[in-house]
Symmetry: C2
Subunit: 237 residues, 2 copies
């Protein structure tokens, strides 16, 4: 595979870009952290401040960093796929984003039923129990989210995982109020979809797993549609 973003070799700026990018991807500069100031980065990397400034600009445009006026430069995303997807999803219609999420939840459920290991299943049962025991909406939402992310992990498909997070995370952070309400409605204990999903993955029944995930997402989409009709202004774009 050829290097896809080859730039003229030996450029100092490119080396600085690569070093900063590595620290972001590697997690030494975690998301939401403020970067050291230009002068300190320049000293540490042994280059001029203008080189650092140019490298930061590239990484801001790539969506990895965010420059907050009068405050500093913050890490916004760990991967460029995340950053690009985030921008794209935030411009999308909320219903469209949920339809994409449905595509991935259903396929994840199907693949999880096929590929989950015994350890995956033990963890799934733990997460389902934590979700059942959650006290209050905030801890319920956290537990529900952990369970669904684990189902995606069980597929053994990291590309699906990246795309799933790339679509779901910006929906959570951008339309937080909206998504929270939808998630609360999901909490209805009369709705058995999630228990069905866990059981189907345990039974290694891909069809039943996909079906449970589809029923869950259809319920979420129905709630979302009603809410958007009541408050159309909250619909993206």
């Amino acid at each position: 595979m050829p290097a896809l973003t080859r730039v003229p070799r030996g450029s100092l700026t490119d080396q600085v870009i690569d070093q900063l990018r590595e620290r972001i991807v590697g997690g030494q500069f975690p998301v939401d952290q403020r970067l050291p100031v230009e002068a300190s980065l320049a000293r540490e990397l042994g280059v001029g401040r203008s080189t650092v400034r140019e490298a930061l600009r590239v990484l801001v445009h790539a969506g990895l960093l965010e420059s907050r006026q009068g405050d500093g430069t913050y890490v916004r995303a760990r991967h460029e796929t995340d950053a690009a997807l985030r921008r794209r999803v935030l411009k999308a219609d909320v219903i469209n984003a949920y339809e994409v999420r449905r595509a991935m939840e259903v396929e994840a459920a199907r693949l999880a039923a096929t590929h989950r290991s015994a350890a995956d299943l033990a963890r799934l049962h733990e997460l389902a129990a934590a979700r059942d025991d959650a006290a209050g909406p905030e801890s319920y939402r956290r537990a529900d989210r952990a369970l669904r992310e684990h189902v995606v992990e069980c597929t053994g498909n990291p590309l699906l995982g990246d795309l799933y997070r790339g679509v779901v995370d910006p929906l959570r952070s951008a339309a937080a109020g909206l998504v929270d309400e939808v998630d609360l409605v999901r909490d209805d204990p009369a709705r058995p979809e999630t228990a069905d999903l866990v059981r189907a993955i345990a039974d290694q029944d891909p069809r039943a797993a996909a079906d449970a995930a589809a029923r869950h997402m259809d319920a979420v989409l129905r709630v979302l549609t009603v809410m958007l009709q009541a408050a159309p202004i909250r619909r993206h774009s």
Copy 2:
């Protein structure tokens, strides 16, 4: 929604970046076209060559442009989502990428059956006829591709369309030989999935449409798995 990639205002480089980006997104600089040389861009935009050089560097790193040593700068992708997805998909396992493609083809079929207009359906029938009449593998593949992309268009979900192309296009261009062979196997006239898909979309039957798309992708994945076992070296990563 706040601007997500805000950079210090008034920077000349940022203005040049925005102008070049607009021409790429707007299609005035189409994919695979070579850009005018630095001096000519600088003259046209009324800025210095070093400003142009810095802007080009940012767009190379964003994946929109590609600098080919001793040749020039070419447009590599029209959108940053495309560019970032392309990089990610090219690093992924081929089977994983096809699993993601399956998720999107199935959901697209389901939504197309629900949302397609009368004009969409007329076009779908045209494309299906062109596929049936295709002479030779190359024109068959082109027709098959046009039909599947049209199904995604029928959903009225542009986010799904972007992600679909972002996953499928790099698979086509990177693993061209492999994908071509898979596509040829798809050509088996004894396999009725595509006719079923078209009929289900015509009948506005989302369940039958999703089922036909799923059977099609399962057949493709079976072929792909056998081929990768025969030639494991062609598997990505």
